[in-house]
Subunit: 209 residues, 2 copies
DNA sequence: GCCGTGATGTCAGTTCGTGACATCACCATA
DNA sequence: TATGGTGATGTCACGAACTGACATCACGGC
C-alpha cells in the first residue's frame, strides 16, 4: 500500500477552511491545520506559500476569462467583451456555490484575507487586460476596461453572495454591468428611484445578446 | 533635555523607506529599521501595526476625497463627482512627488506591499462610496462608481509615475477619466478612434464641463 | 533486482509580532 | 519646591510564521 494517504493538498484545504470557519483565521495555527489533515506543518508549506494562500489556490478563473475574452466576437466594444467574459466565468462560481459562500464568509471576517483576495482579483484584472490588448486595444484602454470589469464583478459578486433570493450570479452581473452604462448620465437616472436590481427579476432588460 | 530624540515615528518611516530601497523589503528586518532610527524593535510596533504599514500611514487622501465628494455641485453625474473629487486629491501626490515615486518604486518591487496598497485603495474606495451614498446614490451605484473611480485612478497614477515627461497627475486623471466616460457611455461610439492619451498633451479634449 | 524520483518527515533556526512590566522626563498642581 | 500622574520608550519572554538542509522510502522504469 502507499506510504501516505492520497491528496494531502485537498485534506489541507478542507482542514483549513473548517478551522478558519470554526475558530477564526488568526486563532488557527498552521500546526493545527496540518494535524487535522494528518501531515506535518512543513508539508503545509510545501503546498501553500503561506497561511492565507490555502484559501486561494483553486482558480480556473483566469483561464476562463482569458479564453472567453480571446474568442469573443470581433466587433464588440470593450465593455461588451468584458460582459461576455464575465458571464462565461459565472458558472465557475455557481457550480460550487456552497463552498464559495463558506469561503467568502471566512474572508469577510478577516482583513488579512481580504487583502489577499484583492491581490488575486488584481491579478485577474491583469490577465484580462492582457487578453484585451491581444484584441488590439491600447494598453491604457485595456487596463481601464479590465479595471472597470473587475469593479463591476466585485459588486455583482458581493450582491450575489448576500442575495437572500439566490438569483444566479449571471443575473447580478448583467444588472451591474448595465448600471455601469448609466454612471455618466446626470442625476435623475442614477437616483434611488431606479434600483439596479428591480424587485421582479424574472424580466431582466435584454442586453441584446 | 528630553529623554529621547523627537519624532521617533518620522525617523522610523525614513529609515524603513531607505532600507527597503537599499536592500529590499524582505531582506530588511524590523530590528535594522529600529536600529537605524535609534529606537527598539518594540517601539516600531507601537507606531506601526506591521512591517508593511510603515509605508502606508501618511494618508490625508481619504479626507480630501470625502470632502470633495460631499461638496461637489449637486446635479452632477456620478462619474463627474468622482472626476471632481480625484482632481481635488491630485495635489496630495504632486506636492510630494519625489517621496511618492521612491515609495512607489519599493512597492512595485514587492508583491506583499502591492497587496497592502490594494487594501488601502479598497478602503479609499469604500470611503468614496460612502460619500456618494450621502449624496443620495443607491448603494450599488455608489459602490460601482467608487470602484470605477479607483480603477481609473490606479491607471492614471501608474501613468503619472512612469511618465518620462512629468505631466501633472491631474492631466493623466483627466485623460483616464475621459476614456472611462467613453468606455461606459451607452452608445457604441467607444471605439479606438478616440485615443486615451494623445501625443500632444497640451491640448486635452474638453469634456464639455 | 537496482536506481532515480518525488512526496513527505524531522529538526534547527530566523524573523515577526505581542503581552507584561519597568523606567523616567515632563507637566500640572498644591 | 515637592508630589504624583502620564505617556513614550526600553526590556524581556514567548508563541507562531516561515525556511533551509538533510533523511526516508514507496513507486516506477529499466
Amino acid at each position: 500500500m502507499s506510504r501516505w494517504k492520497p491528496d494531502a493538498r485537498g485534506r489541507l484545504e478542507k482542514a483549513a477552511l473548517e478551522l478558519y470557519s470554526e475558530k477564526g483565521f488568526e486563532a488557527t495555527t498552521v500546526a493545527e491545520i496540518a494535524a487535522r489533515a494528518e501531515v506535518t506543518e512543513r508539508t503545509f508549506y510545501r503546498h501553500f506559500a503561506d497561511k492565507r494562500e490555502v484559501l486561494f489556490q483553486r482558480n480556473a478563473l483566469a483561464d476562463v476569462l482569458a479564453h472567453a475574452t480571446a474568442t469573443a466576437a470581433a466587433p464588440l466594444a470593450p465593455l461588451e467583451v468584458i460582459t461576455h467574459a464575465l458571464t462565461e466565468a459565472a458558472p465557475v462560481f455557481e457550480e460550487r456555490a456552497e463552498l464559495v459562500r463558506q469561503r467568502q464568509a471566512v474572508i469577510a471576517a478577516h482583513p488579512e484575507l481580504q487583502e489577499r483576495e484583492l491581490a488575486k482579483l488584481a491579478c485577474l484584472g491583469s490577465t484580462l487586460a492582457d487578453a484585451l490588448r491581444e484584441r488590439g486595444l491600447d494598453a491604457t484602454t485595456a487596463a481601464l476596461a479590465a479595471g472597470i470589469g473587475m469593479a463591476a464583478f466585485k459588486v455583482a459578486f458581493e450582491r450575489w453572495i448576500d442575495d437572500p433570493d439566490q438569483h444566479p450570479l449571471a443575473q447580478h452581473l448583467r444588472h451591474t454591468l448595465d448600471a455601469t452604462r448609466h454612471l455618466t448620465t446626470a442625476d435623475d437616472a442614477s437616483r434611488t428611484d431606479v434600483p439596479v436590481l428591480p424587485r421582479a427579476l424574472d424580466t431582466p432588460p435584454s442586453p441584446g445578446g
